[in-house]
């Protein structure tokens, strides 16, 4: 049956009228502060609540639920302790450059021998204060090839000015090697072709301040001279192919202060002495030094030995030819670098039988080498084909990381400036090329020292580069 709803408004009236009591109602939420305690228990009464709780603990559903709850909560708790899942990943990591450029070096300047007849740059030394000046020794080492009109001069160049040397050094005989005094940058000491030691003070001009007397000098060209770390700052020592290592005080060059004959039989016999062609001295180990000989042996010596026979400590069977360069690693002084024949080798002081690393036989003879002063795993080598090789042994051991053709002639001497970026190489034609190495090869890399230590800290004879690649 349909009920029609009448749309028209009509007054409604009820059949009955009833009055009810007013009932006020109000809508509000209930705040359960203590939880829904059962009616009979007073939440404030400790005893009752404890009793209730104890009863609740015996409830079956409680007993069944707890293990489940427990395991879930424990799992998450352990998770939290294991890893902080909310931490910022890679937080604090430095921005790594995307795809680093390949290593490079660029030539900054070339300093040419101003004389007509060109001589070989046989020695180089950086000015100790910031490397703004470079001293170069010029001589002709080819036997009897030196012509009469060949200049005897050596020069100090200002790095910014390749047109003209800043100062001319005028020795009596061409200089084969020279060294700036690290304690007094105005003074230099040089070793000449005729065996004399020469001392300059740049404030006093081109003429040497003092010369060693011919009778007491070396009898062969002085191949290397190095300043020592003494209190007075006036001591140096030199080595020559005449088989001697001589110590000098530049205030009194008439006579050497000390003398060592490189006789491997330790009898001081000059006839049996080995010819010295390179010398190594590290200021952090002032009593020890090493000599590289023409015969290919490296001799380790102790200056402070009590008896003359103990001065020669031991020898290392170095190369098939003269050891042209010898240097300890500035960061790991127990390891030293040598070049001779067609290889460069790295040795550990404690291992006498052989080197711990040897490069491949190169296509041409190696003439000089030195470590980078800022990166323990980088060293530089020079070759007779005019190549400068930069080796990074943590990166690659089989080949140099960077090979540069510096010039067409043979390169003979190499010196890296203390900042590790500027490299000077001297050629047979009297050209000294100044190069700047890219920042990658001249900046200490993260973990480099510890990686290199891990690689060399093994009891095996060879550097274990497998340490770099954990299994």
């Amino acid at each position: 049956q349909e009920i029609k709803v009448n749309q028209r408004r009509r007054q409604y009236c009820s059949l009955f009228q009833v009055n009810t009591e007013r009932f006020e109602s109000d809508s509000c939420g209930i705040n359960h502060v203590e939880g829904g305690w059962p009616k009979d228990i007073n939440p404030l009464d400790m005893e009752q609540t404890i009793r209730f709780r104890k009863k609740a603990e015996k409830d079956e559903s409680y007993l069944n639920s707890i293990p489940q709850l427990g395991s879930v909560a424990e799992h998450c708790g352990r998770q939290n302790n294991a890893v902080d899942i909310y931490q910022e990943p890679f937080d604090g990591w430095e921005e790594v450059e995307e795809s680093p450029e390949p290593p490079s070096a660029k030539t900054i300047n070339i300093f040419r021998d101003p004389n007509e007849v060109k001589r070989t740059v046989t020695g180089l030394s950086w000015h100790p204060d910031g490397g703004r000046k470079l001293a170069a020794a010029y001589s002709c080492l080819d036997f009897q090839k030196a012509s009469r009109d060949m200049s005897l001069d050596s020069y100090i160049w200002d790095v910014e000015n390749p047109n003209r040397p800043e100062l001319t050094l005028k020795p009596a005989s061409p200089l084969v090697c020279l060294d700036y005094n690290p304690k007094d940058p105005h003074t230099l000491v040089g070793g000449s072709y005729n065996g004399q030691i020469v001392y300059w003070d740049t404030r006093r001009g081109s003429q040497p301040v003092e010369l060693s007397s011919v009778e007491h000098s070396h009898r062969d060209p002085v191949y290397k001279i190095i300043w020592l770390q003494s209190k007075t700052g006036t001591d140096a020592f030199s080595a020559s192919t005449d088989g001697q290592v001589l110590w000098w005080d530049v205030r009194r060059l008439s006579e050497p202060t000390e003398r060592l004959v490189l006789d491997p039989t330790r009898e001081g016999n000059l006839d049996r002495a080995l010819g010295a062609i390179s010398l190594e001295f590290e200021a952090t180990m002032p009593t020890k030094f090493m000599v590289g000989t023409e015969q290919g042996l490296v001799v380790s010596c102790n200056r402070k030995a009590k008896t003359p026979t103990e001065k020669i400590v031991c020898t290392y069977d170095g190369h098939h030819g003269p050891v042209y360069a010898l240097q300890r690693n500035p960061f790991f002084p127990k390891n030293f670098l040598t070049v001779g024949d067609w290889t460069a080798r790295i040795w550990s002081e404690d291992i006498k039988e052989s080197s711990i690393m040897c490069t491949k036989y190169q296509m041409s003879y190696l003439t000089d080498a030195c470590w980078s002063p800022v990166r323990p795993s980088v060293f530089f080598t020079l070759k007779m084909d005019g190549m400068l090789d930069v080796w990074d042994i943590l990166f690659k051991q089989s080949d140099p990381t960077l090979s540069l053709k510096v010039c067409d002639r043979a390169l003979y001497s190499l010196r890296v400036q203390d900042n590790g970026r500027l490299v000077a190489c001297g050629s047979q034609q009297g050209e000294t090329t100044l190069l700047e190495i890219c920042s990658e090869l001249s900046t200490l890399q993260k973990n480099e020292k510890s990686l290199l230590a891990a690689v060399s800290d093994t009891d095996t004879v060879n550097l274990d580069f497998n340490q770099l690649h954990p299994k």
């Binding site: 203590e34 409680y62 707890i66 424990e74």
Partner: protein, 96 residues
């Protein structure tokens, strides 16, 4: 009974745990390692929040149910495990 005791004791003694509260279906804290006022506060607030979270989950999928709720704050993390209307609240300070 012993297993329950052992489980709870283990959680309470865990590394970084500041407090543990066990709440029953009526919202009454049965067991706690914190003082009364803190317990009551946590129990009350977390019950409400858990119920809200639970209804959220079940509204989206009635077959589903809330098992665990984690609230990470600057100072610590509050974890709520749910089972049979019981709540196990663990406040932990994860140490790195």
């Amino acid at each position: 009974m012993a297993q329950v005791e052992e489980t709870l004791k283990r959680i309470e003694a865990s590394k970084g745990v500041i407090g543990t509260i066990l709440v029953n279906a009526e919202g009454i804290p049965i067991r706690t390692t914190l003082d009364n006022s803190t317990t009551v506060q946590y129990a009350e607030l977390l019950c409400q929040l858990s119920m809200l979270a639970r209804t959220t989950v079940r509204d989206i999928d009635p077959q589903n149910d809330l098992t665990f709720l984690r609230i990470r704050s600057k100072k610590h993390e509050i974890m709520v495990a749910l089972e049979n209307n019981y709540l196990l609240i663990v406040i932990q300070n994860p140490c790195e």
